[in-house]
Symmetry: C2
Subunit: 337 residues, 2 copies
């Protein structure tokens, strides 16, 4: 963030060399693995250790790229791929089941320097949806592809394809059965809305700022347990689940996607930073706690700004999350306190 | 807009009865039928008359509902359905062809009073995509449905289904052939970007404010001529092609959808109204002319605010458009000047 540092330097004592040196040390990454009813009581020590180890592995992988002067885009992709490949999280390998017992995955990515973006919705055979989102951004004339067409594009680009059963896991299958029992009649809109959080949530994401001051955001998910009719959540919606703009901030969201679309959460937080000149703590807390929570919009976001600040607000019991800022060690957390 | 009028009344002389009476007369509707290279030279008098007649029919249908005290949601749906049913516009009946020679339709709707929204992407057999978007909003637990799943939902809700060939028209088929010749290699991203505007554009939409001060926005499209791989444009993306919020404005967009997603055009214009306190003329012109035009983002938007003001900026040669405000006759226009 040379521009910021120079501005600071000009405002105070004009010592250019240390400022540039300091600027090169400004970078940060934050990741999430979903928000929801995650309490100490519901967790075993073994399971908690598994989650923490995988979160640390992912945030450290992204950090290593940033530390070597790599691009924030590469850092967020590296972190998200590790989370996608783990069955612990609802994305890639550990994706939840649709009502019909299949898996339909969504993902999106955005480059804060260029506002270029890529997104895929309802893909069923792509091993890494976030890798496909990046291909869409870089190698197609479009921003968003969906369904079988998106898979045809993935095949042409030489991405890894898998059978849909690759995404099968016992725990997600059992969650689908419990969810179906609770809903009863699938046409009952109220029954869906009253479902416990555990069925509505689960997404992975990463945001980063690199040494060049460029922001990036990436989000990937299996969606909502028992989703029907080709449902698309907020994760592949640019402005809802993902947003990155060097002039404000980068965001990846996780939560009850329908609310995150209706309140275009990611872009709104950045709009508050850009237009109201709020810092990311104020803007993020306002949207998550004052706008979403009162209407029942459960979930959270991770935010990074061009100065390398990180904020990770959520209005649920917990959110799998980690951050690592320049020169510091990784901080991994799950619960509210 | 009782709240606004009461505020005005309180600020000036407190005369409550006339204020409420005046409030009941505040309503307006605006519609568009797409933006692009539409010049007087490229139009015959007969064709111009056809477009103008259909635009007038649509805006008058919405106006009649508002005049009788109906909801803005009903008004925008009525107007959009008339445009969908006409082969003149790239939505419903007159939808363009995909690369594979089929039709994939997108639509979305938003209620400014509740921020409820509904969207459908890549549907192939639903006669009125905007009617389906409303069903999603009102009768599903989701905001956005796509593909075959969305059609299953449409069938369950008893909507009119048609064979995909219902959307066949000679002129759109010829446009696909011309487009394919120009692109040559479909993998060539640059060739796509350099395509003339006529292939990238075409959408219909409506925005309205009713006597109760409630805003609504609706957008429907066949997408981009020759689109591939299940491409989704801005029309079904809440915040990109459609946005409505009683606290700022209602917007429907038309243009090169990829840019409208990346710059989340509809929500950004309303964010400028809400956070920077710009009027809709300033906010709309800034985004269309100063943000989008310099990067090649061609298109336009229609905007209505809670006070019944209407603005319809575009950065192309023309935009099919019409508006009708309380007590006035319809104004229909096509060209820039």
């Amino acid at each position: 963030m040379k521009r910021h540092i120079l501005t600071t330097a000009l405002a105070g004592t004009l010592v250019l060399a240390p400022a540039v040196s300091l600027a090169e040390e400004t970078f940060a990454i934050a990741i999430h693995g979903g928000a929801g009813t995650i309490t100490r009581e519901s967790m075993t020590p073994e399971r908690e250790a598994q989650y923490k180890a995988k979160l640390k592995e992912a945030v450290d992988a992204g950090y290593a790229i940033l530390e070597q002067g790599g691009a924030s885009m590469d850092a967020v992709i590296a972190a998200v791929k590790i989370l996608e490949d783990s069955p612990l999280f609802n994305a890639g390998r550990g994706a939840v089941y649709t009502w019909e017992g299949q898996h339909e995955l969504d993902a999106s990515i955005m480059n804060g320097a260029t506002l270029e973006a890529g997104a895929v919705a309802s893909v069923t055979t792509v091993k890494s949806p976030i890798a496909l989102a990046r291909e869409v951004m870089e190698n197609s004339p479009h921003v968003m592809l969906s369904g079988a067409g998106a898979e045809m594009f993935a095949k042409q680009q030489g991405l890894d394809l898998v059978d849909n059963s690759y995404f099968n896991t016992k725990s997600r299958y059992e969650a689908l059965q419990r969810m179906k029992e609770q809903v009863g009649n699938p046409q009952d809109k109220t029954a869906w809305q009253q479902l416990p959080e555990e069925y509505k949530h689960g997404t992975v994401g990463a945001v980063a700022v690199d040494k060049h001051g460029n922001l990036a955001a990436a989000t990937s998910t299996g969606g909502m347990t028992g989703k029907r009719w080709g449902r698309v959540g907020d994760s592949p919606i640019i402005g809802a689940g993902t947003w990155a703009d060097n002039s404000s901030c980068a965001i990846s969201a996780t939560g009850h996607g329908e609310y995150f679309i209706r309140f275009h959460v990611a872009a709104d937080i950045c709009a508050r930073v850009k237009y109201l000149h709020q810092d990311i703590v104020t803007a993020g807390d306002t949207v998550i706690h004052d706008v979403l929570a009162p209407v029942g919009g459960t979930g959270g976001v991770i935010i990074v700004d061009p100065q390398g600040q990180v904020h990770m607000p959520f209005n649920t019991e917990g959110m799998y999350r980690a951050k690592r800022q320049a020169g510091q060690t990784a901080e991994v957390a799950i619960y509210k306190n």
